[in-house]
């Protein structure tokens, strides 16, 4: 496919790895990530809102039932982890799960679809990465919001003084000599949560996307192969591996969304526990 544009495999990969961005330095904006995630957020919000509008205490429609099923699943997960008023946390978990599933699912779109669309629209070789969760900015942003929620939950549960005291007095003890080690350890513990959260999702989706690209290179090799036999082998290889990886990726899409949904709830319920 890509060889039609006369690209080398490296160029093909780099092209697919490059964001459509504006600005320079820190003030670079990934237009594709922002637009895709906002679009999917709108879609998710709209679908859920339609279901919420159709909510009835009588017999719900099939569509509303489906959304209720998801909400019930999320609420059950949250309820098993967090024992308290979980209205907000259910909303948080539902938001994370539905939005991340929607964004991750973009990985299952044909790799060259955005490129073909932009070419059809007249923008040759435009950069467009459809997968917002394969952009570290996308996953870290959610992780930062989660971090803020964790800290605010801890402060709400213990008060500013109690939370500050925990920073210097736990886990080793309240002795003044132990304040610095406590502080350092707490900082590491606090920052490890959003970093691992964001990096895990990013790593999984980035790797998945990269593997799709490598599989697509087989097709590229097929179209540039000299012999019919080797060309056919490359083509069959691409179709078979692409199918297998796509099917396996459905699991990863849901699993990573589930992990990103559950861990913030775990963090928040941990933050409200007293040491």
């Amino acid at each position: 496919m890509a060889s039609e544009h006369g690209q080398s495999p490296t160029e093909y990969i780099v092209h697919h790895m490059t964001h459509n961005s504006v600005g320079t330095g820190f003030w670079t904006w990934h237009v594709d990530t922002l637009l895709m995630s906002a679009l999917l957020a709108f879609l998710v919000g709209f679908v859920l809102w339609r279901a919420a509008r159709g909510a009835t205490e009588g017999v719900p429609s099939k569509f509303v039932s489906f959304v209720e099923l998801i909400l019930d699943f999320v609420d059950t997960q949250v309820g098993e982890i967090y024992h308290g008023d979980r209205r907000f946390l259910t909303g948080l978990a539902l938001t994370l799960f539905t939005w991340i599933v929607a964004m991750n699912t973009m990985d299952l779109l044909p790799l060259d679809l955005p490129n073909n669309i932009s070419t059809a629209l007249g923008y040759h070789h435009a950069f467009w990465r459809v997968l917002p969760t394969a952009d570290l900015n996308g996953t870290i942003a959610m992780a930062i919001v989660v971090l803020v929620l964790v800290v605010s939950a801890a402060i709400r549960a213990k008060g500013i003084g109690g939370y500050a005291h925990e920073w210097i007095a736990a886990p080793f003890g309240a002795h003044p000599l132990l304040w610095i080690p406590n502080l350092v350890l707490n900082l590491v513990e606090l920052l490890a949560k959003p970093v691992s959260l964001g990096m895990r999702l990013f790593g999984n989706m980035f790797a998945g996307e990269l593997l799709f690209m490598l599989i697509a290179l087989l097709g590229m090799a097929a179209s540039s192969a000299t012999g019919v036999l080797s060309g056919g082998a490359f083509f069959i290889g691409q179709v078979a591996m692409g199918a297998v990886w796509a099917i396996f990726h459905i699991l990863i899409v849901l699993l990573q969304a589930y992990i990103f949904m559950v861990l913030p709830i775990v963090y928040i319920s941990m933050a409200e526990e007293h040491h």
Binding site: S21, W27, A38, E68, G91, L94, A141
Partner: protein, 156 residues
């Protein structure tokens, strides 16, 4: 995989979606769910209550039927006893009436007999006087011979 200003935009998008879902999606769905659960629980409780009411009503109906049956038997007993009594008293009354009628008839008959005998006696006396006067060829004065006639009448 460079971190840049994009994450600020992503935070904004995420916070807006989070706000929207926690405000406009979860509450109505949860409320509908809770209301449905309550409705179903109430329905089940009402069904239980209805079953219990039905059982009680059945028991009460059985009591009423049994009572009614007893009462009916009582009434039937009473009625048959009463009818027996009525028949007995009617029999008594009828036989008394019959005896009375018979007695009255006997008296009547005696009276009639006496009267017929008196009449016969008078007729015999008159015939005797008439016959005797014819035989004697002369008029017997009934006033003159009243003692003879009376004697005759008592003999007849």
């Amino acid at each position: 995989m460079d971190i840049n200003a994009t994450f600020i935009g992503q935070i904004v998008v995420f916070v807006i979606l989070l706000w929207f879902i926690t405000k406009f999606v979860v509450p109505p769905l949860s409320a509908a769910n809770a209301a449905r659960q309550k409705k179903i629980a109430e329905g089940l409780a009402a069904a239980d209550r209805g079953q219990k009411d039905l059982d009680e009503a059945q028991a009460r109906a059985n009591d009423v039927i049994r009572e009614a049956r007893e009462r009916a038997n009582q009434i039937i007993d009473q009625a048959s006893r009463r009818s027996g009594e009525i028949v007995e008293s009617a029999k008594t009354t009828a036989s008394q009436e019959g005896e009375r009628l018979v007695a009255t008839a006997k008296q009547q008959i005696e009276l009639e007999t006496t009267r017929a005998r008196e009449e016969l006696r008078r007729d015999v006396a008159r015939l005797t006087v008439a016959t005797a006067s014819k035989l004697l060829g002369r008029e017997i004065d009934p006033a003159k011979h009243a003692d003879i006639l009376n004697q005759l009448a008592t003999e007849i």
